[in-house]
Amino acid sequence: MKQEISTNQHLERQPKLNKKKKISKDKLMAIAFLAPSFILIVIFVYGFIGWTGWVSVSNWNTLVPDFSFAGLKNYIYLFNDYRFQADLRNTVFFTILFIGLVIIMGLGLSTLIDQKLKGESFFRNIFLFPMALSFVVTGVVWQWLLNPSTGFNQFLQVFGIQPKWYTDTNILAGFEWGSIEFGLPVAIIAVVIAAVWQMTGFSLAMYLAGLRGIPEELREAARIDGASEFQIYRKVILPILTPITVSVVIIMAHISLKIFDLIYAMTGSGANFVTDVPGVYMFETTFRGNYYANGSAIAIIMLLLVAIFIVPYLITSRKGDN
């Protein structure tokens, strides 16, 4: 009580000018707090991207840096390159299958877990734990599980099927496209299985949080109106979850487009590059082959692909935030 009075007196006695000065000093401190991080981001993110962009139009395809201007030579080379065309094909199919399965699994499992069954936290923990693992660990383990001569094939033997998993070089529904056969590379399915195993927990957690946020009265009201459980799910629950689905798609898409470690640890490029992706190509051509300009061009293309998804998402979600 005593203290309160004294602070009030202190405030009253303080001249106006002094108060204003104090606020601007706080503002200055706020900027000083933020400035180091912001400057680091500007240099390490935007500055370095610019630098990579510069390397990508240079002639630095040797051990010794050569910054002479090469125009779009490296990009033109890549788009005519068998390996890079295969990478783009693989990325398309990997991304579609991966996102689709992560959404279906996450939605299905979260709906089941949200049914007030016993042991729901037990099940949730099991589906979520792979999220805590490294893609490298996942790759090492699934490499053995989907090895054609061992792993799951020992069970499938009983049914007389022996998939070749990631060693399969077939392209399903393929047609000529550039120098490659465009279609679903069967081998990519094995990598998708491992990736889905790891990332389902993310969409599960997102959907579960969304389901928990839906008030019970809403379902109750729909029930009173005579809607069946299935109708409630389709007409009430799913539309409410749409923003979550958008978030999951965007986040999974950016993971998928830049994926490197899972494939590098599990399969590598594969025969005929059936499991190769831009991330692996960039790493190998830059750090094993010293083709720095080509590697930079791949990196810039990857960045542009990710930006197509991320920039609109960032802008709209930041707008909604305020």
């Binding site: 933020l34 390490f44 090492v140 053995w144 490197f260 830059t286 990196a299």
Partner: protein
């Protein structure tokens, strides 16, 4: 009533089958890693061991121990530093907004989503020029910088839940920017720090691209060593499995002990939180 019961049984059946599928890799890792050497043939991959033998762990441990320690030296300072900077940024961006601060935040956030391949070549040149290439220090710097967007985002959203009226009344009481941060914000941030630290710990421990390109041989973190182990033809796969488990153990333990906070971090990573 009978129909309802059937549907419940069906739901359980689906969940149990899926749980078994999700746990299959765990079964294979554990069973294989404790098998005696003469039982580690690929034809008996699924069979339980007749005797428990930890020799593959000893082998994997001697191979991976130095790299395991590298990861510890990397992950502890990198996590603490990026969490502290994130808290400072989050404090400013939630409680001391100024004209343009939202734009600065969005500019920072983009750094969270970029493929790191697009900054890797300049980063390595830069680290070489300041003498931090091929060192744990270089990796710490890298992870602190590229961890800033996510830690800032997490703390900003966390501090948004602290009522502005608290800050206002502290200002009226004469507290300044630093005083409010130290005496009000920090004491209220404990659970925020736990969430962010777990998130950063898990991500940095599991990270591979920076680890494999910025360091070689002696200073490599655990994931690179594990990848080398599995890539080598002479190492038997029971040792690989034991190695995978050892490498995964710290993050798995964190998940088992502090899973609630881990999931909170997971959800916070989706921008809106």
């Amino acid at each position: 009533m009978a129909k309802l019961k059937l549907s419940t049984i069906l739901k359980y059946a689906v969940l149990i089958v899926m749980a078994i599928i999700f746990l299959t890799p765990v079964y294979v890792i554990i069973v294989t890693s404790i098998k005696p050497l003469d039982e580690v043939s690929l034809d008996h991959m699924w069979a339980l061991p007749t005797a428990i033998d930890f020799s593959s762990y000893i082998k994997a441990f001697t191979e991976l121990a130095p790299n395991f320690m590298n990861s510890i030296y990397l992950v502890v300072p990198a996590t603490l530093l990026s969490a502290l900077l994130g808290a400072m940024n989050g404090y400013v961006l939630s409680k001391w907004r100024f004209k343009g601060s939202e734009l600065l935040f969005t500019i920072m956030l983009f750094g969270m989503f970029i493929p790191y391949q697009s900054i890797l070549i300049p980063l390595i040149q830069f680290l070489r020029s300041i003498g931090l290439y091929n060192s744990i220090g270089g990796l710490i710097l890298t992870h602190v910088v590229y961890g800033l967007p996510i830690t800032t985002l997490m703390f900003r959203n966390f501090y948004a839940n602290i009522p502005d009226s608290m800050i206002e009344s502290a200002k009226i009481d004469g507290a300044n920017f630093l005083g409010i941060f130290r005496h009000i914000i920090i004491p209220l941030s404990i659970s925020g720090f736990v969430v962010v630290a777990i998130w950063q710990f898990t991500n940095i421990w599991n990270e591979f691209l920076f680890a494999v390109t910025i360091t070689n041989s002696d200073s490599q973190p655990i994931m690179v060593a594990l990848q080398n182990l599995s890539g080598s033809q002479i190492v038997q796969w029971n040792v690989q499995m034991a190695g995978a488990l050892l490498a995964a153990l710290p993050t798995l333990l964190v998940y088992i002990l502090l899973g609630k906070y881990f999931v909170r971090g997971l959800l916070a990573g989706s921008v809106k939180g």
